[in-house]
C-alpha cells in the first residue's frame, strides 16, 4: 500500500523535502499544518522534493505532508472568461474576499465558481454517439463568446440523456450509456498539451493593428513570436496593445513575475475598452493570470502552463486564441531559482540545463489545429523576453529565437528617441510573409507584397546612406539620395511610429496601413517627377499638405480622407515645378 502521509524533513525557501511519502513526480501535495499547496519535483529514495506555491516562513520540520494523488490541474468550463487568476488558478477576487488586500497563505480556492448557474443549451441529443472533444451544448458565457461544452478527451460513448436548462458546472448535463456523467467543468493537468487531430500550416495573419507588425513582420494565427527587449523599450506596452487590438477571438494574458501596478492597470482598463472587432468590452474575451514578481516563485513557474492550458481549451472549441506571456524571462528565472535550491548542476548563466527544452515545449503548444471534433482552432503565442542588459545573446533569448518564427526586436535606442513601438526594423524578422502573401493579395490589395518589399528596401537603403551621412553630412549626398532619406524619414515618422496612447492612432487596420504605404510611395514618385522637371528638393519636401497628410492620422475617419489628402499633396508637389 502506498503511504499518503509523510513528514517534512527540510525547508529551504520555496523548496521543502519530505520523507515517508510515496508520491509520484509532479503530484500535488499539501505541506504543513496550513496545507500549503506544493508539487513534487524530485524523488531521492525515501525523500520527495517539493516546490511550494506559497511562502514557507514559519513552517517546521516534522509537520505533515499529504499527497493528493492529483497532478497540477486547472478547472475548465464556463466562468473562465473575465476572470483574473494567480499562477495556480486561484481567482484573485476570491483571495481578496478571504484574506483582504494582502495575499497570505493556506487558502484554497476553486478556479471556477461552482455555485453559479449557467444556461446550458443542448446541441446533441439522446442516442448520439459521441467521442472526446465533441460539442454537446453551449453556454452564452459573455456577449461575445459562446462557451462550447465538450466531451472530455478520452471519453466516448452513446448519450443516454441530455437536458437543456440551468446548471452549475459540477452538475451532470449529460449521461452516457455506461453511466459516465458529463459536467460542464472538466479538469486537465497543466503540464500536458491537450490533444488535437492534426496541426495545419498557418495561412491567416493575426491582425494586430500595429503597422510595423502587420505590414513588415506579420504573425500568423497559430504562430509563435518572441519580443525581446531591455527594460523601458516597451515590451509591456506592446503586449498590452496586442491584447487589446489583435483580431483573436480570445485572449489569455499572463503577467508572469511582472509589476503589480501594471496588472492593475490592465484590470482597470480592459472592462472599459471596446474591442474594435466586436464592439464589446475587451474583458469579455479575456482571461488573465497575474503572478506578480513578489508573489511566490513556484506559482510563477506554473503560471505559463496554467495559461496555455486554458488557451488550448478554447482552441478546442474552435476559437482563435492569442496568448501573451509577459515575461518568459521571469518564468525562466523561476526555473533557475528552483533548480539552484535543488543544487542541480547549472547550465549557461546558472539556468538549468533543461531550459531550452522547456521553452521549446511551451512554444510548441502554439499552432493552428484540426480539433478533435473536426473544427479549426488556433493558439498564437507571443512571449516577451527580458534579456539582462538588453543583450540577446543570453540563454532565454537564444532558446526562444531558435523556436519562434517571428522576432520583434525592441530597441532601447529607438525608445530613447520616443520612437514607439520601438521595434527595430533592421534586425526584426518574420518567416510568415510567404505563407501569408496570398491572404494579403486576396483581402487587401493584389500588389500588397510588392509594396511591402519596396518599403523595406527603402529602409534598408536609408540605413546604408545614414552611415555615409555620419561621415560627410547629408548635404554632401546627391539630390536623389537626399530624397530617399526624406522618404525614409516619412516611413519612420509617419508609418512605423504609432502612438499607442492616442485613441485613433493606436489601431490601424491593414487597409489603412496599405493606403499609408501607398501614400508614401506616391510622394516619392511625384517628388522624383517634379524634381526631374526642375523643382527644388527643399520646396517639394516642404509642401504643407504633406505635413497635413501625416498629422491627419490622429483624426477619425483617416482611411476615408487619405485619398483626398494625397490628391492635395500631388497637386502641391506639381505646383513646385511651376513656382520655379
Amino acid at each position: 500500500m502506498s503511504n499518503n502521509e509523510g513528514v517534512i524533513y527540510r525547508i529551504s525557501g520555496p523548496v521543502v523535502t519530505a520523507t515517508g511519502i510515496d508520491a509520484r513526480m509532479y503530484e500535488v501535495v499539501r505541506v504543513g499544518h496550513e496545507k500549503l499547496m506544493g508539487e513534487v519535483i524530485e524523488i531521492h529514495g525515501d525523500q520527495s522534493v517539493i516546490q511550494v506555491y506559497e511562502d514557507t516562513s514559519g513552517i517546521r520540520p516534522g509537520e505533515p505532508v499529504l499527497s493528493t494523488g492529483q497532478t497540477l490541474s486547472v478547472q475548465l468550463g464556463p466562468g473562465l472568461l473575465t476572470s483574473i487568476y494567480d499562477g495556480i488558478q486561484r481567482p484573485l477576487q476570491t483571495l481578496e474576499e478571504v484574506m483582504g488586500v494582502f495575499i497570505t497563505r493556506g487558502v484554497d480556492a476553486d478556479g471556477l465558481d461552482l455555485e453559479k448557474k449557467w444556461d446550458f443549451v443542448a446541441t446533441a441529443s439522446a442516442g448520439d454517439e459521441v467521442v472526446g472533444g465533441q460539442i454537446i451544448g453551449t453556454v452564452q458565457e459573455t456577449e461575445t463568446i459562446t462557451h462550447k461544452i465538450m466531451i472530455p478527451p478520452k471519453v466516448s460513448g452513446k448519450i443516454k440523456s441530455i437536458d437543456s436548462g440551468e446548471f452549475n458546472v459540477t452538475e451532470a448535463v449529460c449521461v452516457l450509456d455506461d453511466g459516465t456523467e458529463i459536467k460542464m467543468m472538466q479538469e486537465w493537468p497543466v503540464r500536458h498539451p491537450r490533444p488535437y487531430t492534426q496541426k495545419y500550416a498557418p495561412d491567416t495573419p493575426l491582425v494586430t493593428g500595429m503597422r510595423i507588425l502587420d505590414f513588415l513582420f506579420p504573425l500568423a494565427k497559430g504562430g509563435a513570436a518572441g519580443i525581446p527587449g531591455p527594460f523601458g523599450s516597451g515590451k509591456t506596452v506592446t503586449q498590452q496593445s496586442l491584447a487589446k487590438y489583435s483580431d483573436a477571438q480570445l485572449v489569455v494574458y499572463i503577467g508572469c513575475g511582472e509589476r503589480g501596478n501594471e496588472m492593475t492597470e490592465v484590470l482597470d482598463e480592459f472592462p472599459e475598452l471596446i474591442d474594435p472587432n466586436t464592439g464589446q468590452p475587451l474583458m469579455n474575451r479575456t482571461v488573465m493570470i497575474a503572478n506578480t514578481s513578489n508573489m511566490p516563485v513556484a506559482a510563477r513557474e506554473a503560471s505559463v502552463y496554467t495559461g496555455i492550458t486554458i488557451a488550448e481549451y478554447f482552441r478546442d472549441q474552435g476559437y482563435d486564441v492569442a496568448l501573451m506571456a509577459d515575461s518568459t524571462s521571469r518564468w525562466a528565472e523561476a526555473m533557475r531559482e528552483i533548480s539552484s535550491r535543488l543544487e542541480e548542476m547549472p547550465g549557461e548563466e546558472g539556468y538549468p540545463a533543461y531550459l531550452s527544452s522547456r521553452l521549446a515545449e511551451f512554444y510548441e503548444r502554439a499552432g493552428r489545429v484540426e480539433t478533435l471534433n473536426g473544427d479549426d482552432g488556433s493558439v498564437t503565442v507571443i512571449g516577451a523576453v527580458s534579456p539582462p542588459g538588453g543583450d540577446i545573446s543570453e540563454p532565454v533569448s537564444q532558446g526562444t529565437l531558435r523556436i519562434v518564427k517571428v522576432f520583434w526586436g525592441l530597441d532601447a535606442g529607438l525608445a530613447r528617441k520616443r520612437h514607439f513601438p520601438a521595434i527595430n526594423w533592421l534586425n526584426s524578422y518574420s518567416l510568415y510573409p510567404q505563407s501569408l502573401n496570398q491572404w494579403f493579395r486576396d483581402n487587401i490589395a493584389s500588389d500588397f507584397p510588392e509594396v511591402r518589399t519596396e518599403i523595406s528596401a527603402l529602409l534598408k537603403v536609408e540605413a546604408e546612406l545614414q552611415e555615409i551621412v555620419q561621415l560627410v553630412g547629408s548635404d554632401a549626398l546627391p539630390i536623389d539620395q537626399q530624397l530617399t532619406l526624406e522618404v525614409a524619414r516619412m516611413i519612420r515618422e509617419y508609418f512605423l511610429q504609432q502612438n499607442g496612447f492616442d485613441p485613433v492612432d493606436a489601431y490601424s487596420g491593414v487597409e489603412q496601413q496599405y493606403a499609408m504605404a501607398k501614400a508614401i510611395l506616391t510622394f516619392q514618385d511625384e517628388a522624383k517627377k517634379a524634381m526631374a522637371a526642375g523643382a527644388r528638393l527643399q520646396d517639394v519636401v516642404n509642401v504643407p499638405s504633406r505635413t497635413e497628410l501625416m498629422r491627419a492620422r490622429f483624426a477619425e475617419g483617416y482611411l476615408e480622407n487619405i485619398g483626398g489628402l494625397v490628391d492635395d499633396m500631388v497637386g502641391e508637389i506639381t505646383g513646385t515645378v511651376e513656382a520655379n
Binding site: S57, P61, G257, N261, S293, P388, A412, S474, F554
Partner: protein, 458 residues
C-alpha cells in the same frame, strides 16, 4: 515555544552559523546567540531540517565560537509599529538610535510583508509635482509609484532626492508626505547631509529614519529596508498617510545579498549575485502602491549607484525590470555644470501615460513631452556628427535641432536647488524653447495645440 539554548554549533562561515540536532526549527525563525562574554547577537534561520540548521547572523559572526548558546525564539522577525515612529531615528535593526525610548508597539508586523493582491490595488494616477522640470515634464512621478534614481559615484543624487522630498506635492494641494528614510551602508557624512537637510526644513518631525551606516554590520542591511517598508505600510494603510520612502544605496544592499549567497555556496547568477536577486528586489520594490479602500499610499524613491556607470550591471538592470521607470543621472551633464544633471533620454516613467493630460496636468503635456524628447534626442545625436564634419554640412532642420539641444540643457534642465517650478511654468517654458524650431519640423504636435499654446512668431 522552545526557550531551550543549544550549544551545538558545528561550523561558522562568513555571516552564517551552522548547528546540528535541534528541536524542529521554523524556516525564517528569529534567533539570539549568546557569546561567551555575555553579549548577544541576532539572526534568522535560512535553512532548516531534522539534522541541521543554518542561521544568518545580522551583526556578523565575529567572536562567535562553538560554545556560544543559540536560542530560537519561535517567531519570525517582527517590527513594533506605532504612530510614534514618526519623528524617530532607528538603527538598521529597528532599535532607537536617537537616545529616545523604545517604540511602544501598537502592533507587531511581520517584516517580510505579504504581496498586495493585484486585484486589490488601485492604479496610481495622482500626479506629483516635484518642481523639477525634467521630472515633471518628461518622467512624471505618480503617487504610489516606485521610481529609482540610477546614479553613480560622485554625482549629486542626494541633492536631487532631497529636493524632491522637499518639493513633492500634489498639484494644487499642500498635503505633505511622511518621509521614511532608509540608509544602507552609506557613510556617516552622507547620512549627516540628509539629516541636516531634513532638520533644516523641519521635515524631520514628519520622518522616520532607519540607519545602517558603512561601519554597521553588512548583513543587517538585508533587514533594514524591510523594516522601513513595514513602517511605511503601517503608516500608509493603518494611519492614512502618504508615505515617500527614500532608500539609499541599493547597491550596498545587493552586495550584502551576494555575501550571503557566497557564504552558502549557492550557484551564482550574473557577476556573482544570487539567481533569486530579482525576486528578492521585487519583494522590496513591489511594496509600493495604493490599495483599494485605504487612503494612504507608498511612493518609493530608491537610489542606487551604478558600478562603473554601467546601466547593464545586474543591480540597475534587475531594478529597471521591476520599478516603474528610472531617473538616470548623467556624469557628462554634471561635468558640464548642469544641475540637476538628469539625462532624460534613458529616463522613463511608466505610469506617466495614465496621470498626465487635461484633467490632471494639461492637455498638451503628452505631446509636448514627446516633442521635446524627440528634438533633444536628435539634437544630441547631431553633436557627434558636427564634431566630424562641422556645422556647415548641416541642413537647416538639423542646425535648428542642434541648437535646441543646447537650449534644452541650459534653460530646461538647469534649475536651482531650491527652484520649485509649477507644471504650468514647466510646460510654458517648453513652448517658449520650442519656438526656436520651425513649426513644420514639430511633427509630434497637432495643429490644435500649436494654435493654442504655440509661441512661434511668423
Amino acid at each position: 515555544m522552545t526557550s531551550k539554548e543549544y550549544k551545538t554549533i558545528t561550523d561558522i562561515k562568513g555571516p552564517l552559523v551552522f548547528l546540528e540536532k535541534t528541536e524542529p526549527v521554523a524556516y525564517g525563525e528569529i534567533v539570539t546567540i549568546r557569546l561567551s562574554d555575555g553579549s548577544m547577537k541576532n539572526g534568522q534561520v535560512l535553512d532548516t531540517s531534522d539534522d541541521a540548521v543554518i542561521v544568518q547572523v545580522f551583526e556578523g559572526t565575529e567572536a562567535i565560537d562553538r560554545q556560544a548558546g543559540v536560542k530560537f525564539l519561535g517567531d519570525v522577525f517582527k517590527l513594533s509599529v506605532s504612530r510614534d515612529l514618526v519623528g524617530r531615528i532607528l538603527d538598521g535593526a529597528g532599535r532607537p538610535r536617537d537616545g529616545g525610548p523604545d517604540i511602544v508597539a501598537e502592533e507587531k508586523a511581520d517584516i517580510i510583508g505579504a504581496a498586495i493582491n493585484p486585484y486589490s490595488r488601485q492604479s496610481p494616477h495622482d500626479f506629483i509635482q516635484t518642481g523639477v522640470s525634467a521630472i515633471d515634464c518628461c518622467t512624471t512621478l505618480v503617487r504610489g509609484q516606485k521610481l529609482p534614481i540610477f546614479s553613480a559615484s560622485g554625482l549629486p543624487h542626494n541633492d536631487i532626492a532631497l529636493q524632491i522630498a522637499r518639493q513633492a506635492k500634489l498639484k494644487d494641494s499642500d498635503e505633505e508626505f511622511i518621509v521614511v528614510f532608509c540608509a544602507m551602508g552609506i557613510t556617516a557624512e552622507e547620512y549627516n547631509f540628509f539629516r541636516t537637510d531634513l532638520e533644516r526644513t523641519g521635515a524631520l518631525e514628519n520622518a522616520v529614519l532607519f540607519v545602517n551606516l558603512a561601519d554597521d554590520p553588512a548583513v543587517e542591511r538585508l533587514i533594514t529596508p524591510r523594516l522601513a517598508l513595514t513602517a511605511a505600510e503601517y503608516l500608509a494603510f493603518e494611519h492614512d498617510y502618504h508615505v515617500l520612502v527614500i532608500y539609499t544605496d541599493m547597491t550596498n544592499y545587493c552586495d550584502s545579498l551576494r555575501q550571503i549567497g557566497a557564504a552558502r555556496e549557492e550557484v551564482p547568477g550574473r557577476r556573482g549575485y544570487p539567481g533569486y536577486m530579482y525576486t528578492d528586489l521585487a519583494m522590496l520594490y513591489e511594496r509600493a502602491g495604493i490599495v483599494k479602500g485605504k487612503k494612504g499610499s507608498i511612493t518609493q524613491f530608491p537610489i542606487l549607484t551604478m558600478p562603473g556607470d554601467d546601466i547593464t550591471h545586474p543591480i540597475p538592470d534587475l531594478s529597471g525590470y521591476i520599478t516603474e521607470g528610472q531617473i538616470v543621472i548623467s556624469r557628462e551633464l554634471h561635468q558640464a555644470g548642469i544641475y540637476p544633471p538628469i539625462n532624460v533620454l534613458p529616463s522613463l516613467s511608466r505610469l506617466m501615460g495614465g496621470c498626465i493630460g487635461e484633467k490632471t496636468t494639461r492637455d498638451d503635456h503628452k505631446k509636448v513631452s514627446d516633442q521635446m524628447y524627440a528634438a533633444y534626442a536628435e539634437g544630441r545625436e547631431l553633436r557627434g556628427l558636427v564634431a566630424i564634419v562641422g556645422e556647415d554640412a548641416l541642413n537647416e532642420r538639423d542646425l535648428q535641432l542642434l541648437k535646441f539641444s543646447d537650449i534644452f540643457e541650459d534653460k530646461f534642465l538647469r534649475q536651482d536647488r531650491d527652484e520649485d517650478r509649477t507644471i504650468d511654468e514647466t510646460l510654458d517654458l517648453c513652448w517658449s524653447l520650442m519656438s526656436s524650431i520651425d513649426e513644420k519640423y514639430l511633427v509630434r504636435l497637432d495643429r490644435e495645440l500649436i494654435d493654442k499654446y504655440g509661441q512661434h512668431t511668423e
